[in-house]
């Protein structure tokens, strides 16, 4: 009983972590892909592929712990990446493009948060609306086609072999690791993080305790938007063009990652480490299945099953606990 929360924290992380190990183990034992799968280069490319989902999942973790949902993340990524392309294409310096992308993402998030708190509508509806609005805006900006942009150092952010070789990993991956660590600290060791949990656990109680629930929520959605903006920059870096139709349906992957990692859609539960593990479970599955030559639909079915199994295991554990 004494170290209750530490035990609980460990238990919440161990389950998804075992899942991740299991996925890696299965593919390492399949003789067809064994040697290719276990190569460090492959791990590197899985990590590169995960950056976009992972960054957005960081923000989504905050949103889901606070008892909300953000369906507009994928559209937000597409819009931000188009903004980056647009600015660089206009001949402006690349750093301005990055800044523009991140600001766009944050603005979308702040609008989500403000609408949710001022109109008092459920996040599902507001962000569902924003899903359409941001996607439409991206297509409008891009004139319904791809925005070409000259190759700049921005594209090195997601390069498979990083430019100064001593970096070992692409700058995007380092960014993902650093931000994940920072967000884990914010969630567990700051007043803001604690208030996020309180709002998701019992919003009425949080308000009664003097927590500024509306302001906190606006910040939470703004943060989610900020991460989408960064994710959009990475998306552009990888594609080298601004594609308004990119990342369609990616919001479901992002939500799935958080949920597999122990986030509860009714709020109050979740962790950054869990969400990151969720991201990697899905990334390794995709990677391994592709190597096996399994068709796309098999991957989709497997991931679907994993979501249901992961969440129901979590529920069973939860019920036993209480």
């Amino acid at each position: 009983m004494k170290s209750g929360s530490r035990f609980r924290f460990v238990a919440n992380i161990v389950a998804p972590f075992l899942g991740l190990l299991l996925v890696i183990l299965i593919f390492s034992l399949l003789p067809e892909v064994q040697d290719r799968f276990l190569r460090p280069g492959n791990f590197k490319s899985v990590a590169t592929q995960s950056v976009i989902v992972a960054l957005a999942a960081l923000g989504m973790t905050f949103v889901i712990i606070s008892g909300g949902i953000d369906l507009s993340v994928a559209s937000n990524i597409a819009l931000s990446s188009c903004i980056v392309a647009f600015i660089i294409n206009a001949g402006l310096p690349p750093w301005l493009g990055i800044l523009g992308g991140i600001l766009t993402g944050s603005a979308i998030g702040l609008i989500n948060g403000s609408l949710i708190t001022s109109l008092r509508l459920v996040p599902f509806i507001i962000t569902l609306g924003m899903l359409g609005i941001a996607r439409g805006a991206a297509k409008w900006l891009a004139g319904n086609q791809k925005i070409d942009a000259p190759i700049t150092w921005v594209n090195d952010l997601m390069a498979r072999s990083p430019q100064p070789p001593w970096l070992l990993l692409a700058p995007g991956i380092w960014l993902m690791i650093l931000l994940a660590a920072a967000m884990a600290v914010v969630l567990r060791f700051t007043v803001f993080g604690r208030h996020v949990f309180a709002i998701g656990s019992n919003e009425a109680a949080a308000r009664l305790c003097g927590i500024l629930t509306r302001r906190t929520k606006v910040i939470i959605y703004g943060l989610a938007g900020l991460f989408c903006g960064m994710s959009g920059v990475m998306q552009f870096s990888r594609l080298t063009v601004g594609d308004p139709t990119v990342a369609v349906g990616l919001e479901l992957d992002i939500i799935a990652a958080v949920v597999i990692g122990g986030g509860s859609l009714s709020g109050g539960q979740g962790s950054i480490l869990g969400s990151m593990i969720g991201v990697f479970i899905m990334a390794f599955l995709r990677n391994g299945s592709t190597m096996m030559g399994w068709p796309n639909y098999i991957q989709e079915i497997i991931i679907g099953i994993i979501i249901v199994v992961a969440v129901s295991l979590d529920q069973i554990r939860y019920r036993r606990e209480t």
Partner: protein, 495 residues
């Protein structure tokens, strides 16, 4: 501390109520359901504002705009579990909203120390600060809330029914803590239906009835009987229709039945042509008993017979097929489908007569519903009208009509007259009498004593989850019923 006097205008939920609270005293606020206690504490805590009247706190004018402001002024309300975040730990809950910080970061070690100190202060050092609140017992959750209030430097604690779900030992520990807080100069407003406890813990009392302050004074100078008299008052006699009806053979019998949410097993039988009243406080186990009878909660113990047939424990569908009908006390939440029409609500439990191969014959159903609307005197324009556009009384009539439409022979009615106008009420009484005369069996849960006394053949009283006593209605009166419901014994009021 001489604090509050206030009066109320338009709604008359409270009518010129005066209330004062001294420093370091326990003041019991008493009254029946709907007497105005909740309104009073809501005003005190800042949840609502009085229409008239003023409050003073330690000689300074006090008019909180929100519960938060009230708390800042040192007035905290302790509800059962409403105000805790279940996923978060004891420490996180106690410090919530007043975290100690350094540049936005939590000072966890310092806070942990403080929380331990608080828990020691309330004599509950065994509660571990890092356990999530959802794993604590109700008693421990209460301690967490009290600790939080004390951390906020509460000067006045309002405890609303603090013991209704506590066991005997936890109750005594709470009383010990109350005494201790009193000694530290904290004033406590203590609201409870359990009069013997009140006598044990309170220094002074105030009784509210129909929004008026009908008496207050020193606790030790008054007897329980006198308090009950003050609470009950002299009620105006209403007209209760009575039809002669024969009590027949047993229609429904529960033998040592215990549903999942019941605290104790109950043995009770209901006869055809009988109206059996269930009295008791809110939360005394009446509703849980009804839910178990109707199969809404699983029963793992006991036997249930309908007529002579012993029935296996199964869900509501089977109960309806056996001729049992259940009217929920929560009309909006559970009793009716609020977005649907009168016709849908009336026929939902028995659509068979209007369906052919699974397709509904809406014309046929509409004609049948129109007949029901007429027969039950429901004020509705058409069967397709949304149920929400009807008045509370008419909604209730639709809910009742559903039970009759499903041809229930045993009716379980949970607070059927709550929140409906007087004319609809009288109609409900009339139907109950008619149905009993036709040989139907009725179980009638009510918190309104006059209707129980005048409508029922027998009345059973629940107290703290147990069936305390069953007697013919003629052997009960206002006082003995109130006494049985609040103390579990009738002797307190028998002179």
């Amino acid at each position: 501390m001489k604090c509050i006097s206030k009066s109320f205008g338009a709604t008359r939920a409270l009518d010129n109520v005066h209330f004062d609270l001294k420093r370091g005293e326990v003041h019991a606020l008493l009254g029946e359901n709907g007497a105005g206690k909740s309104t009073l504490i809501k005003i005190l805590s800042g949840a609502i504002r009085p229409t008239r009247g003023t409050m003073n706190l330690e000689g300074v004018k006090y008019s909180p705009a929100s519960p938060l402001e009230g708390r800042k002024m040192g007035i905290s309300v302790i509800y059962q579990e409403l105000n805790l975040a279940p996923h978060m730990t004891v420490e996180e809950n106690i410090m919530l909203g007043q975290e100690w910080r350094a540049c936005g970061f939590l000072r966890r070690k310092k806070m942990r120390e403080k929380v331990r100190e608080m828990l020691r202060l309330v004599s509950h050092p065994e509660i571990a600060p890092d356990v999530p609140v959802k794993r604590l017992s109700v008693a421990a959750r209460q301690i967490v809330e009290i600790s939080r209030a004390l951390l906020e430097k509460a000067r006045i604690l309002i405890m609303d029914e603090p013991t209704s779900s506590l066991s005997g030992e936890d109750r005594n520990r709470l009383f010990g803590l109350i005494k201790q807080l009193k000694g530290q100069g904290v004033s406590i407003v203590y609201i409870s239906h359990f009069l013997e406890e009140v006598q044990q813990v309170a220094d002074r009392f105030s009784v509210l009835r129909d929004g008026k302050n009908v008496g207050s004074g020193q606790m030790e100078e008054i007897s329980l009987d006198r308090i009950i008299q003050l609470m009950v008052g002299k009620k105006v006699r209403e007209v209760f229709p009575r039809l002669p009806h024969e009590v027949g053979p047993v229609a429904l019998a529960a033998f040592k039945l215990r549903g999942k949410r019941m605290q104790a097993e109950v043995t009770l039988s209901l006869h055809r042509g009988e109206i059996l009243g269930l009295a008791g406080l809110v939360g005394s186990g009446r509703t849980e008993f009804l839910r178990a009878l109707f199969g809404l909660d699983a029963c793992h113990e006991g036997v249930l017979r309908i007529g002579k047939e012993e029935i296996a424990m199964a869900g509501p569908r089977l109960r309806i097929d056996h001729g049992i009908g259940f009217l929920s006390e929560d009309r909006q939440g559970e009793g009716l489908a609020p977005s649907q029409s009168v016709a849908d609500n009336l026929t939902l439990s028995r659509l068979a007569p209007y369906s052919r191969f699974g397709f509904l014959r809406l014309g046929l159903r509409n004609r049948a519903v129109e007949r029901w609307v007429q027969r039950m005197k429901i004020k509705a324009q058409s069967p397709g009208q949304s149920i929400l556009t009807l008045s509370g009384g008419n909604q209730q009539k639709v809910a009742l009509a559903r039970l009759l439409h499903q041809e229930a022979r045993v009716l379980l009615l949970d607070e059927p007259t709550r929140g409906i106008d007087i004319i609809s009420k009288l109609q409900v009484y009339q139907w109950m009498a008619e149905l009993a005369a036709k040989g139907k069996a009725i179980l009638f849960v009510s918190s309104y004593l006059p209707e129980l006394l005048n409508v029922c053949d027998r009345i059973a009283v629940f107290y703290r989850g147990q069936l305390a006593e069953v007697r013919p209605a003629s052997e009960w009166n206002d006082q003995s019923l109130t006494a049985a419901a609040t103390t579990g014994r009738t002797s307190a009021a028998l002179h």
